[in-house]
């Protein structure tokens, strides 16, 4: 069977709840608000949705069966991963593949994150992610007091500093830039001005990372509706097409928070990216890296922004720490990154807030953040997966 997914699926609707800290709404209430907004955005009815894709189930978010039951849906296709931010791309890819293959007409990607209610899962005795027998997937190791995803990003950035002479000010450049984007976003949780001096003065969490290197702990929901390209063309808003994609990478050269070759866990030296397979999504979309007008990534910790730039070859290995300054990743710069503020300053909806921002930018709905003439925007993560979007 010759199955080509290019431009076969599109995002037809986006919706969000309000974002905040210590919100009184339950996960179901946040999810319902985002779901209602997405249907309205697309001009679709609740009964049109027949698929669900979820990467944040219990306890942080909602499981697919609870969503279907509570929202009164009639579902015939589901994809749900273990509750983890790394599976954003996978959920969206599976939604696109499902509608392209005819397994569903409209797949709702439902992302709810109530971090302030469930904050015990982020490090310490309640962090079951870190309790795996040979160490957690971010190199947590509880017998040594090493816990929380931040530890993995800190381990990676310490080695990066040592190899390339990078400083923590490069991380400050990322935090300050993303804050400047959030300041143009009325829905962002963190809108106070931030300077490099503020970043240097923030308390150490797990050195070399400081508080302002860690994303915000917030509550919120985003729903993204995926349907076939043909159907999307007949709906209320212009479609945003899914033009190219590549899957999550795994193997001994992979560590979730370090580019291959850096030397964390069992990564072998010299296997640095980009390798030919790191450009699969561009080839599928029939574009080059230089055609990308903006990059969106999972910025749970500031080093991940540097690492994704190197992983995808926007910078050579060891060069991203110099690249991120000088406004180059800011709106109006050479490669704007996370233009709504990302997980660092807008909200931690597992990156779905940035997926929604991609859609707004390609529709021309981004208001005072609007990029000029953006044609191709890329979602790409440190762990190697990606989706290229076009209008």
């Amino acid at each position: 069977m010759d199955f080509n997914p290019v431009d076969r699926a599109a995002i037809a609707g986006i919706g969000a709840s309000r974002f905040g800290r210590h919100l009184p709404e339950s996960q179901l209430a946040l999810g319902a608000a985002a779901f209602r907004a997405a249907l309205d955005d697309a001009g679709l009815e609740r009964s049109d949705v027949d698929g669900l894709a979820v990467n944040l189930g219990w306890p942080l978010g909602l499981d697919y069966d609870r969503i279907a039951e509570a929202f009164g849906l009639d579902i015939r296709y589901v994809n749900q991963t273990w509750t983890h931010g790394r599976f954003v791309t996978m959920a969206l890819q599976q939604a696109a593949l499902a509608v392209a293959a005819g397994l569903a007409e409209v797949v709702a990607c439902v992302a709810v994150a109530s971090f302030t209610r469930e904050r015990d899962i982020l490090g310490g005795p309640g962090d079951f992610e870190g309790m795996r027998e040979e160490g957690g997937t971010h190199a947590e190791n509880p017998p040594y007091g090493l816990t929380a995803p931040a530890a993995g990003a800190a381990l990676a950035y310490r080695r990066y500093m040592s190899l390339y002479g990078a400083t923590t000010d490069a991380l400050g450049e990322v935090a300050v830039t993303l804050r400047s984007h959030a300041r143009r976003n009325a829905n962002a949780v963190m809108r106070r001005p931030m300077t490099l001096t503020d970043h240097r003065a923030s308390r150490e969490v797990v050195a070399p990372l400081r508080l302002f290197d860690c994303c915000i702990v917030s509550d919120g929901a985003v729903v993204v509706l995926v349907t076939s390209a043909e159907r999307a063309r007949d709906l209320r808003k212009p479609p945003v097409f899914i033009s190219g994609m590549q899957g999550i990478r795994a193997g001994r050269d992979e560590f979730i928070f370090a580019p291959p070759g850096l030397g964390i866990n069992q990564q072998r030296p010299g296997r640095v990216t980009p390798r030919p397979e790191d450009g699969d999504a561009w080839r599928m979309a029939d574009i080059e890296r230089d055609d990308i007008d903006g990059l969106y990534t999972y910025d749970a910790f500031t080093p991940l922004v540097l690492f994704v730039l190197e992983r995808f070859g926007f910078c050579a290995p060891g060069e991203a720490h110099a690249f991120v300054g000088g406004g180059r990743i800011a709106l109006g710069g050479a490669l704007p990154v996370n233009t709504s503020g990302g997980l660092m300053s807008e909200a931690h909806v597992s990156g779905w807030n940035s997926i929604a921002e991609i859609v707004r930018q390609l529709r021309g709905e981004a208001g005072e953040r609007q990029m000029e003439d953006a044609r191709h925007l890329q979602w790409a993560t440190m762990w190697g997966d990606s989706i290229v979007f076009r209008r």
Binding site: P125, G135, A207
Partner: protein, 138 residues
């Protein structure tokens, strides 16, 4: 489960020889008898050749710090009095990297590339953690 206690290693059929040898103050690694190579984390098959002939052999205990962090956040109640404390990855002479912590060195003196050797910390009657200290020369 006592949430105020220090977490102990989770012993499995795959890693049991590692933790049992630590109790005898010997650092052992799984070796593939076919590739003649050590690997971590412990597994019943070799990640290079997928062979099943795995021997546990004593390692030299020597290595270098490949990266490290210093924890300031009181995530674990049991570690609160140790803050700020370090954790490190050590690249062993045999090749694999092991996550551990460093002793007999101030946090400010730790650097990537520091040469270290294993020491053993009997944390209770049943558990011994390997840690590393700077290697003494001569």
């Amino acid at each position: 489960m006592d949430l105020t206690a220090r977490p102990n290693p989770r012993v499995t059929p795959d890693n049991r020889p590692f933790w049992e040898s630590c109790r005898e103050h010997v650092l052992k690694l799984p070796w593939c008898a076919d590739c003649d190579r050590a690997f971590l984390p412990p597994a019943p098959v070799c990640p290079s050749c997928f062979g099943e002939r795995i021997d546990w052999r004593a390692a030299s205990g020597r290595g270098t710090v490949s990266t490290f962090v210093v924890v300031h956040q009181p995530w674990f109640p049991a570690f609160a009095d140790d803050i700020p404390y370090n954790a490190a990855q050590v690249e062993l002479e045999e090749g694999p990297r092991l996550t551990s912590s460093l002793v007999e060195v101030a946090n400010e003196e730790i650097a990537v590339g520091l040469e270290v050797e294993a020491v053993f910390d009997d944390v209770d009657d049943e558990n011994t953690l390997p840690r590393f200290r700077p290697r003494r020369r001569g």
